[in-house]
């Protein structure tokens, strides 16, 4: 799966679920401070990741995900491992 495809899938979900403005979705955007995504919202994000990218997310792996770039990189790494 291409990196751009992964980014597009995540961004589409964030726009639809949280009604976020696309211009805010930069790799540097802090999930909590800039996008107002709370730890509870990770439940939904995990569901989407597992459904769209076909791997199981472990909670402790998400602890270091602070900004959107971290989230993209985490998914890209896991998808590459799978392939």
């Amino acid at each position: 799966m291409e990196k751009q495809e992964i980014i597009k899938t995540i961004n589409t979900f964030l726009i639809e679920e949280f009604e976020l403005d696309e211009s805010k979705l930069t790799p540097e955007a802090n999930l909590r401070d800039d996008l107002e995504i709370e730890s509870l919202d990770f439940v939904d994000i995990v569901v989407v990741i597992e459904k769209e990218f076909g791997f199981k997310v472990k909670g402790e792996e998400m602890v270091n995900v602070r900004n959107l770039g971290d989230l993209y990189n985490y998914i890209i790494e896991k998808v590459n491992q799978k392939e």
Partner: protein, 297 residues
């Protein structure tokens, strides 16, 4: 800004002495000893004294003279509640009485098969309420910080005869969220405090007793996220042997998604909570058990 760090003060030896006193001499003797222990804390915990004193002076408008006494009474009542909890949960002889305003609301939650969220505060002690919640025909879970949970677990599990509630510790890996989600699906009750600001989480500022204070959004967001009814609860020790439990009418806030809608609903429900909390604090000023600087300034 100061925030609560997830640890509660109190030593192992102290607990052991009080457990032995309760077991062999009863609650009245334990209360007598507590009078000296409370005085020790009154003299030798300057930070806590300062914040509690300011609470009575600035927030509730007591005179300095009255506030000095209120601080001592506050420490003493806090100790009494800890002793009551040990006494009740350990099956030691006691003769407590209880009344329960809003018990029907909790039965309604269970009957509606939706699960429900009970949000309390560090006003009174709702672990005591666990005894009353036994009358509600479902499993009761209390969400609390892992560090506090471990401490309480190690100290008291050995003496408690029955487990009234299930503890869900808050974990960094967010596993508690899945546990909470499953509990709601099983029509269980989740209890959580709504008055502990912690750094690194979303907090919203409200006017509380005439000054701005931060309240954590997380507990309230739980109700929105899982679309469960929420009620605000308090268990207050009104006399040496009597507790009064309050539960407000449950409300479902119908969250449909989106950040804007979420923030609006969070503000609405948290304002409801803050109003209720303010009423209770004014009614029971000596039952305020946040011993740190709760207000922004």
């Amino acid at each position: 800004m100061p925030s609560w760090k997830g640890k509660t003060r109190g030593g192992l030896l102290g607990y052991r002495i009080f457990v032995a006193t309760l077991k062999f001499f009863g609650l009245s003797v334990a209360y007598f000893i507590l009078g000296f222990v409370a005085f020790y804390f009154y003299l030798f915990t300057p930070q806590s004294f300062k914040h509690t004193f300011q609470f009575y002076r600035k927030r509730l408008g007591f005179s300095s003279f009255s506030a000095f006494f209120k601080v001592y009474n506050n420490y003493y009542k806090f100790g009494q509640i800890l002793l009551d909890k040990i006494s009740l949960m350990s099956g030691f002889k006691n003769n407590f009485t209880f009344n329960f305003d809003g018990e029907n609301y909790l039965h309604e939650i269970v009957t509606n098969n939706s699960g429900g969220l009970l949000i309390g505060a560090h006003v009174g002690n709702w672990e005591i309420a666990g005894f009353l919640l036994k009358r509600i025909n479902t499993k009761i879970n209390i969400v609390m910080y892992d560090e506090e949970h471990q401490k309480i677990k190690q100290l008291l599990e050995s003496i408690y005869k029955e487990s009234i509630v299930n503890i869900i510790p808050i974990k960094n890996d967010m596993s508690h969220i899945y546990t909470i989600s499953n509990a709601f699906k099983n029509n269980e009750i989740i209890c959580i405090h709504g008055d502990r600001f912690t750094e690194g989480s979303k907090n919203i500022e409200f006017d509380f007793l005439g000054e701005k204070a931060l309240f954590p959004a997380g507990p309230f967001y739980l109700a929105l996220k899982f679309n469960v009814p929420v009620t605000y609860v308090y268990a207050i020790k009104e006399t040496n042997r009597h507790y009064h439990f309050y539960a407000t009418k449950p409300k479902v806030y119908n969250f449909k998604g989106g950040l804007k809608n979420r923030n609006l609903l969070l503000n609405e429900m948290m304002q409801d909570y803050v109003n209720e909390l303010e009423t209770k604090v004014k009614k029971y000023p000596e039952h305020w058990f946040n011993f740190y600087d709760f207000w922004k300034n």
